[in-house]
Symmetry: none
Subunit: 233 residues, 2 copies
DNA sequence: CGACAGCGTGACAATTATATGACATTAGTG
DNA sequence: CACTAATGTCATATAATTGTCACGCTGTCG
């Protein structure tokens, strides 16, 4: 499982560092920003999985940044946890109404912070979950993690499952091994492109019915394509 | 939509009355209790939808009552919001660890209180299970706490019982260890995910007939799934 | 027709995930 | 207070998965 990246936005470096240490121990990658402008740039650039956002900051406030994020389609669903001092608790309502996913009052315990981050990330994942997909005898259910062809259950490893999931939502289009690595293995992985071949092979095998394979076509020199149609190319 | 009932537990009548007024204005039905014993009785008797629980009370403390509620399957899922004085804030962590859904520091604004109650009730919206469940030889009675397979009574601990209860109302769906922790151990719990494995094991054992296990499938890299069907995965 | 690059295939060892049994601690019970 | 059951964590055992490789096949192009 790829580690998640968390962006910490706070004008006090002591807070940033404290949180960074706690999160890194817990296995998260951390980014820091000390104002809303830097934060926004980092969000666009580094695409963190979650943002910890301080309420009170010089210049643009955390609330204002939150509103901007929510207005932009690309960042509308980015999980944001607001950090507030005790005295500002009244404002939390406003924060939650503006689209924060959660909030925490300072001071907070690292354990609680981790728990909330986990929880927020998980909810986010759930949002991206899809409906069962059915095509040409193939049934793919991301909820139950069930894959079957003509009611016959198929068995495959987690990577093949993700690969199939990717293909199903990107049909009829050729993807290079690089692109597939990016999408299925997530982010910047240093890995042999040929590994994709092997997993394609495994997926093909898993999807095959009595030795007859379908769905995945090789496009020589370019990559692979998933297609319902039996294309003679 | 039927109005929700909120039980307010606090030894100071001034607080109880203030909160009662605020909640009734907002359209909630209110019950009051001035100590843990009365509160417990009211919870059993009136089955409120949510409890506002003061931390510091004479005799049994709010925390102790909370723990008792969480231990009993019947009240394990009842939303509880802890009320604490500012000076006790350190204890909140402990409160959250014991299964409170949220907490509020006195003095609090009615607005915020309403918002949190709404939020907690919304989260709760899930299951309120009363009917016995029967499937494929397995009989699960949430009222008598009886579980049997083909009329043969099974024995399991409270945690396994809750786990089974959760699975029965969430069949054919994969849940991560984290999610299972949240649902079965109650919200804000910080515990080793592997504990789930152990309890899965215990439940499997309890549900097994002459060494043959069913119902619970492992989904590698994802979590566990409860399914009536015997799926070759 | 070579020669070569791209791809398929099976095997394999390292890695990772899960299962299991044991144990110390704590909660429940009378 | 003593006793029993239940719980959570570990250490270890087992199993599945993963990435890489070597080798063989196939189409391509001069």
């Amino acid at each position: 499982m790829a580690e998640s990246t968390v962006l910490i936005v706070d004008d006090e470096s002591a807070i940033r560092d404290m949180v960074t240490v706690a999160l890194e121990v817990a296995g998260y990658r951390c980014l820091q920003a000390e104002n809303a402008r830097d934060a926004h740039a980092l969000i666009i650039d580094e695409k963190p999985d979650l943002v910890l956002l301080d309420w009170m900051m010089p210049e643009t406030s955390g609330l204002e940044l939150l509103r901007r994020l929510r207005r932009d389609e690309l960042t509308a669903k980015l999980p944001v946890i607001m950090l507030t001092a005790k005295a500002e608790e009244d404002n939390m309502i406003q924060g939650l109404n503006s689209g924060a996913d959660d909030y925490m009052s300072k001071p907070f315990s690292p354990r609680e912070l981790i728990a909330r981050i986990k929880s927020a990330l998980r909810r986010q994942k759930a949002v991206n979950q899809e409906e069962p997909i059915q095509l040409d005898g193939l049934l793919f259910d991301p909820i139950s993690h069930h894959v079957s062809i003509h009611d016959k259950a198929l068995s495959m490893g987690p990577t093949e499952f993700r690969l199939l999931s990717f293909f199903l939502s990107h049909q009829d289009r050729v993807y290079s091994r690089d692109q597939i690595l990016d999408h299925v293995w997530g982010g910047n992985v240093y890995m042999d492109e040929r590994t994709v071949d092997v997993h394609i092979r495994r997926l093909r095998k898993a999807l095959s019915i009595d030795g007859h394979e379908r769905f995945i076509q090789t496009v020589r020199g370019a990559g692979y394509r998933f297609s319902q149609k039996l294309v003679a190319d």
